[in-house]
């Protein structure tokens, strides 16, 4: 019994930090509508800075002062980031801010290694809370008890801040309707900056307070950000109380899950999140998102099929790509195959995200399912490669059919979060069900048949499939179905009023996108000769998002270019420098600020400008997004 009580208290203590970080994310999202991917990075910097300060400063005052100073210092960094970067992109297409903050996260991961080294750092114990309290023979660290008290105290302070101060009232008002707050003459710039600062302060404080409990290391950002997303979604975006309740819930699930369901401990949290989202799509304490007032005419470039000249150009490019094996070595060919495979992956997400307006944060699940499908068929059933390639992606198709059915019931950020949860569930299964999937060791020895085994042949196979998939999806974009899908994205109200069953259309699109991603995954399994849980992990899902956004989410063919540029750059940077993440992250941030429409979007704009001497449309519509304030 005592053991369970101690376990419960440990869970509560973990909830404190989680709550701090989650409440910060929640406040920032509520007011600015930015899903701050860099929140985990700020948490990590908070921990590192606090580590340095508490090592340098002595005594109890030095420790606690160091913690608070670290949080303030990181909040200042947050202010700079907000003013220099985010202010320029508040009006960029939705999710572009996510890309920018993801770029920041990449940069931070390399910067902390540069400054603090790659090794885990073990910080000081907290003065006054070094010992443990005896509880019926079980030890509870007294620092845990401190954290258990701290959580509700911070909740109380935040509550007072939001209920009793003018600033708090403005924040609550902006969370409900920020356009109205702006219309009432509130200086939005400073409101956004201050909110961002408070949010980052909370994240950094959460990180700083972890140092007596956990080692500081350079991968702690991704781990926390996923958990925090889960907490915020369960609690309801924008709700502080929700964040608290959900933080406790998630921490307790983690604490007891490992005891009661060790087999599925990792899934448990995501399972709960999926159930909450299905039953209460806006989280336990959240409210339905008010429909955003759309800025009219953001997209003034309607899509059109390629002209015959452009088709010839695309064919020529493909033909040139096909000549690669004539002069390139094996390494270049395997890089080429990988890029082709990622083109498949990117265009599949593009179909869902750009055409359907459904940004999946867990698209790697279907890529990975395709890969595992191949591994099962080839290794266990021993089927020939052709059969495997035809059947393997079906696993992605089935996964997309099941998960997609639930996911399309939601939209916007909640859709993104549910897809993330589903992807994590699939990842956890692959990771924990060792007897079938090999767990972390993966499934090895998945090699192509002899007809496709040579690097040049496999390259041609990948290139051919990528070209076929791209063409097929392009045809689908301009098919009646593609138009119906865009219609559900542009105006749910109007599409319902002309007889379109949006959910069925979106579900179908989800299955198409999932199956296509599965094709990419199938080829990837053969390329690498193995399958690992990472093939359906979060970072791969984020890669797909970045590729689509980089190419241009509002274009038809951006994903192809985005995938080629991102993947080539990624592989090249990893081979050239130890600081590949720093360079890549910086590159992403620059792209977002300078070319908010993505690479292809920018090219289209230039072409349009050249064809018309005067700017198109009315001046109001032609205003570049980057300069909109």
């Amino acid at each position: 019994m005592a053991f369970y009580v101690v376990q419960f208290l440990t869970g509560l203590a973990s909830a404190a930090s989680l709550f701090l970080v989650a409440s910060g994310l929640s406040i920032i999202f509520g007011v600015t509508r930015i899903v701050n991917f860099a929140h985990g990075a700020f948490y990590m910097i908070g921990a590192y800075v606090a580590f340095t300060l508490t090592e340098r400063l002595s005594g109890a005052f030095g420790f606690w002062g160091g913690i608070v100073m670290a949080a303030i210092a990181v909040a200042l960094i947050g202010v700079i980031v907000e003013m220099v970067l985010l202010r320029r992109i508040y009006h960029a297409p939705e999710l572009f801010q996510l890309l920018a903050t993801f770029g920041l996260t990449l940069m931070v991961e390399d910067i902390v290694v540069l400054v603090w080294g790659p090794d885990d750092l073990v910080g000081r114990r907290a003065p006054g809370f070094r010992g443990a309290v005896d509880f019926f023979g079980q030890n509870i660290p007294s620092y845990d008890l401190f954290l258990i008290v701290l959580g509700p105290v911070v909740l109380g302070i935040l509550w007072l801040l939001f209920q009793r101060t003018r600033w708090g009232v403005l924040v609550r008002a902006a969370t409900q309707d920020r356009d109205m707050v702006a219309a009432l003459g509130v200086n939005q710039k400073w409101l956004f900056t201050s909110v961002f600062a408070v949010g980052v302060f909370l994240a950094a404080l959460g990180g700083a307070l972890q140092i007596p409990r956990d080692a500081v290391h350079h991968a702690m950002d991704l781990r926390i950000i996923v958990e925090v997303f889960v907490v915020v979604v369960i609690g309801g975006l924008g709700s502080i109380v929700g964040a608290f309740v959900a933080a406790v819930l998630v921490s307790e699930l983690n604490a007891f899950g490992i005891l009661i369901f060790p087999k599925i401990s990792i899934i448990l949290v995501f399972l709960v999140m999926a159930v909450v989202l299905i039953v209460r799509p806006w989280g336990l304490f959240g409210r339905p998102e008010a429909a955003a007032r759309k800025t009219p005419g953001l997209t003034v470039n309607p899509w059109r099929p390629l002209t015959s000249n452009e088709r010839l150009a695309a064919l020529a490019a493909l033909a040139m790509a096909a000549t690669l094996p004539l002069f390139a070595g094996n390494y270049a060919l395997s890089v080429g195959s990988e890029i082709a495979i990622f083109v498949i992956f990117a265009v599949s997400l593009h179909f869902l995200m750009s055409v359907g307006g459904l940004a999946s944060f867990g698209h790697a699940a279907y890529f990975g399912l395709g890969a595992y499908g191949i591994a099962f068929l080839a290794k266990m059933a021993g089927l020939p490669m052709i059969v495997c390639l035809l059947l393997g992606p079906l696993l992605g198709c089935v996964g997309a059919a099941v998960f997609g059915f639930f996911a399309v019931q939601l939209s916007g950020v909640y859709f993104a979060m549910l897809t993330l949860a589903f992807a994590q569930i699939v990842w956890s299964i692959a990771f924990q069900w060792v007897s079938v999937t090999g767990g972390d060791n993966g499934i090895l020895g998945v090699w192509p048949s002899s007809w496709a085994a040579s690097p040049s042949r496999f390259y041609w196979l990948s290139l051919g499939v990528a070209a076929l998939v791209t063409v097929a999806l392009r045809i689908a974009v301009f098919s009646p179905f593609g138009y119906a899908l865009r219609a559900t994205r542009d105006s749910p109200l109007r599409s319902e009023a002309i007889g379109i069953d949006a959910k069925r259309i979106q579900w179908t699109a989800f299955v198409i996108a999932g199956t296509t991603a599965g094709i990419g995954g199938a080829l990837f399994a053969y390329l690498k000769g193995s399958v690992f849980p990472d093939n359906l992990g979060i970072s791969l899902s984020v890669d797909a998002l970045v590729m689509v956004l980089l190419g241009g989410v509002e274009t038809v063919s951006g994903a192809v270019i985005g995938a080629i540029v991102y993947k080539a750059l990624n592989i090249w940077l990893v081979s050239q420098t130890d600081l590949s993440k720093l360079v890549l992250g910086g590159f992403i941030v620059v792209i977002v600020v300078v070319f908010p429409k993505g690479i292809v979007g920018m090219l289209e704009m230039l072409a349009q400008r050249r064809s018309k001497a005067s700017p198109p449309g009315s001046p109001l519509l032609a205003k570049p997004i980057g300069s909109a304030e």
């Binding site: 997209t299 309607p302 098919s479 138009y483 119906a484 542009d490 109007r494 002309i498 007889g499 379109i500």
Partner: protein, 263 residues
């Protein structure tokens, strides 16, 4: 007189939000080719009524019969399939598509080709799309991006989209809201002409009394969720209760007003 069964029959429609009765026991009928205006001051329950006819909102009690079929509680898309076109108070169009493509989506849906993955939507029934756009005077705008249209043009585009399924009934919620005076008159004349030609029933709500009295065959007046008057424009104009409700708001309609409106 032996009349055909009405295309729209509403019986005892009631809806309340919390303690507020938005609509109480509203009943009326609409004949083919008839233009019926639903008017009333702000908060009278017009939009609530409208949304229940269209399926966006479910009534607490009462029935809606469209073309002899009970459609109470059906979804908007099911009601559309029965032949009901809809325009919105604030236009709802597909902003990233061209004007023609907006109409084509409706035509695709009408032809039940929504799940066709291999056809060419840009070439889908261009002649019918052109005919509809010509009908509402938007023929020259077919290739313009919908996102850069003026508001009055968006309203006309909505009308073209609403006509794409050859409706027997048009539901128009404040069809001329936000338009310039000249455009208002033009749009309603156009609607009236089309309705009479094709014998389409039109139910519309409107705040502009010029529009209402010039085009409505019959008027229903709502106040606080109740029908307080019903009849020809002349009857409604002479109704003292209506005058009381509208005192100082809209009943300054007279012949001079009408002459002032450009033809």
């Amino acid at each position: 007189m032996n009349r055909a069964p009405p295309i729209l029959a509403v019986e005892g429609l009631t809806k309340s939000y919390g303690g507020i009765h938005a609509v109480r026991g509203v009943s009326f009928a609409l004949q083919a080719g008839e233009i019926l205006a639903l008017i009333g001051p702000n908060g009278a329950g017009k939009s609530t009524c409208f949304d229940m006819l269209n399926g966006q909102n479910r009534p607490d009690s009462g029935h809606v019969r469209l073309l002899g079929e009970d459609t109470t509680g059906k979804k908007p898309r099911e009601i559309w399939r029965l032949g009901v076109g809809r325009t919105f108070q604030i236009t709802a169009t597909f902003a990233t598509m061209t004007v023609r493509e907006n109409v084509q989506v409706a035509l695709v849906s009408h032809a039940r080709k929504l799940f066709n993955l291999f056809g060419s939507a840009p070439n889908f029934d261009r002649s019918e799309a052109a005919r509809l756009l010509e009908l509402v005077g938007m023929g020259g705008y077919a290739d313009r991006p919908c996102g850069e249209l003026a508001y009055g043009d968006l309203k006309r585009l909505e009308l073209a989209v609403a006509l794409a399924n050859q409706p027997k009934l048009l539901l128009m919620d404040e069809p001329t809201a936000g338009m310039a005076p000249r455009e208002r008159v033009d749009l309603m004349r156009l609607t009236a002409t089309i309705a009479r030609e094709k014998s389409i029933g039109v139910l519309f709500t409107e705040h502009d009394m010029d529009v209402v009295f010039e085009h409505a065959d019959r008027i229903i007046v709502l106040n606080r969720g109740n029908v307080i008057a019903e009849g020809s424009p002349a009857e409604v104009r002479g109704n003292p209760q209506v005058q009381a409700v509208y005192l100082g708001e809209g009943l300054v309609y007279d012949a001079r007003h009408r002459d002032g409106a450009p033809a």
